[in-house]
Amino acid sequence: MEILNIKDLKISFNTDTGVVEAVNGISLSVGEGESLGLVGETGAGKTTTALGILRLIQCPPGEFVKGEIFYKGQDILKMKDQELRDMRGAEISMIFQDPMSALNPVMTIGEQISEVILHHQKCTKEEAERQMLAMLEQVRIPAERAGEYPYQFSGGMKQRVIIAIALACHPKLLIADEPTTALDVTIQAQVLEMINALKRTNHTSMLLITHDLGVVAESCEKVAIMYAGEIVESGSVADIFDATAHPYTKGLFNSIPSISKKMDRLKPIEGMMPDPGNLPTGCKFHPRCPFASDLETCAAEEPIAYEVTPGHFVRCHRCRSWVEELKVERGVGV
């Protein structure tokens, strides 16, 4: 069953200098117990999507232009404030990117974990404290440190406190926004291992936002690649990593220096990410795309998402002919 289902979501910000189109009609779904990796570079709209799911975008200047976000069949965009407050932290919770600034510096970490439990569960302070200590144990922080303040912890430990807060009420969906970007690799490996283990034991679904394809390969079953507010390619991990179809996704893979292979030169994507306040017409990627010159349609027409193989969607004009060929091969009428 699908736990989260986003349909044609469009979020923009009305600023003094014009409308910034941060998220442009994305659709995605996360099944129960499933992990979806949302990958993209700075400014692709990943974090806006995450904040949109939790309705944490300030409106105005933000605006949900169109679309629906269903959580267990209920449209989050139509929820009342009280319903939203009950949902956040208990049903859907979020791990923020920067552990240094996501914690309250004047509250002990024990208080910060108990706060969530007290808010969502009708229980006594003693019961909340008992649950808080159990949570600390799960993230391997000694119970006697519950009375300490965030500044007394290292970056990796702070991120584990944030994980404890996020998982304290056993949410069904966890949104992790670049949970390991601010951490060193050995600490990143520890934190990822922990998130994956806790997710398995609690049967939590996860939306993992990252720019690191290596992290995705390790923790996700499904992947969606975002560019300029759109999902340009989505599918299973095998689809994206082994049958890469979109030129942008290919460019991303070619940009990463490999640990296992020796390469003389990297093949970067030329040019820069477009300004979300001034997006190109047609396919948003066409000014940087090595194939765009072959097709006139790229600059003129916005591509739809073609299903190249079951479950593998690619938003690229070049895929139209492939899909038609495939259909002929399979004997399906075009």
Binding site: E41, T42, S154, G155, G156, M157, D184, V185, T186, I187, Q188, A189, Q190, L192, E193, H211, D212, L213, G214, V215, V216, A217, E218, V237, A238, F241, D242, G251, L252, F253, N254, S255, I256, P257, S258, I259, S260, K262, M263, R265, L266, K267, P268, I269, E270, M272, M273
Partner: protein
């Protein structure tokens, strides 16, 4: 002869609770035209090491020889000459450029400060050449840093370093703040410049796949000390130090066909303030014995040209 030779370099900082050993007894050398990658996690002393080579942090002890000349405590004319030969590219292109200077002024600054170019026309011509070299379109000449993205800003940083025609560049995490597609553009630019001009790089980074891509030799640092140093491919093929093994196995690789033997390192880096005698890694090391907590392991040549600072290197690796 090695272009740069560093012998037993030490850099301590005074803190109210005792000396902070940022760099402790590190020795290495680099040949002309080569790249030495320095890797390690936050706080391991890699940036301090780079800054000490430039004289931005004066070394507490040890010796730095550049083309045979001792530049450890270089002052006056020698120091000025050294600054022309050795340049640095900084990590953060957002804070290392003066926000009130235009691109043209930023690139002209090192030219006029060292007196390489005299006269407005000559400076302007040279600035245009440098912008072309680093791939900055001339229309940005009058732009200010805040108008440019990270990749273009880092190109300004590179142009500033190249302006004085150095032989040697310390690159302190030059691509860490950039997105992967831009990171690849800058890495290619740096490789091209090295080839054209025969530059020598110290490339400091925490990103192991980047360091593997660009380096000839790699030096791994942990808590201010050198733990392992050898040729690049050899380090990735056959790491000998337990820390390097843990570090390499922690890298998430963008492929779904890699069966990885997880060798997770427990714990975190210990404090470099008043460190205990003995190996700095001993608190996290699965192989640590009594000797590791008592005596500091000096780097020894475990295989030809492969230096490892570990008491048990032979036992662990069956050498």
């Amino acid at each position: 002869m090695a272009q740069l030779e560093v012998k037993h370099l030490m850099k301590y900082f005074k803190t109210p609770v005792g000396p902070l050993h940022a760099v402790d007894d590190v020795s290495f050398s680099i040949d002309s035209g080569k790249t030495l990658g320095v890797v390690g996690e936050s706080g391991c002393g890699k940036s301090t090491l780079g800054r000490a080579v430039l004289g931005l942090n004066e070394a507490t002890g040890g010796q730095i020889l550049f083309e045979g000349k001792d530049i450890t405590h270089a002052k006056g004319v020698l120091s000025k000459e050294m600054k022309r030969q050795i340049q640095i590219i900084f990590q953060d292109p957002y804070s290392s450029l003066d926000a009130r200077m235009s691109v043209q002024q930023l690139i002209a600054e090192p030219l006029t400060a060292t007196g390489i170019c005299k006269g407005k026309a000559a400076v302007q011509k040279r600035v245009a050449e440098l912008m072309d070299t680093v791939g900055l379109a001339s229309r940005y000449m009058l732009s200010y840093p805040h108008e440019l993205d990270g990749g273009r800003r880092q190109r300004i940083g590179i142009a500033r370093a190249l302006a004085v025609e150095p032989k040697f560049i310390v690159c302190d995490e030059p691509v860490s703040a950039l997105d992967v597609s831009i990171q690849a553009q800058i890495l290619n630019l740096m490789s091209d410049l090295q080839e054209e001009r025969g530059l020598t790089y110290i490339f400091i980074t925490h990103n192991l796949s980047v360091v593997k891509h660009i380096s000839d030799d790699i030096m791994v640092m942990y808590c201010g000390c050198l733990t392992e140093k050898c040729e690049c491919d050899e380090l990735f093929r056959a790491p000998l130090h337990p820390y390097t093994k843990g570090l390499l196995s922690a890298i998430p690789e963008p492929s779904i066909h890699v069966e990885r033997k997880r060798n997770l390192l427990e714990g975190e880096i210990s404090s470099p303030i008043n460190p205990a005698p003995g190996c700095r890694f001993s608190s996290r090391c699965p192989y640590a014995g009594d000797i590791c907590r008592e005596r500091f392991p000096a780097p020894q040549e475990a295989c030809p040209n492969h230096f490892v600072a570990c008491h048990f290197v032979n036992e662990i690796n069956g050498l």
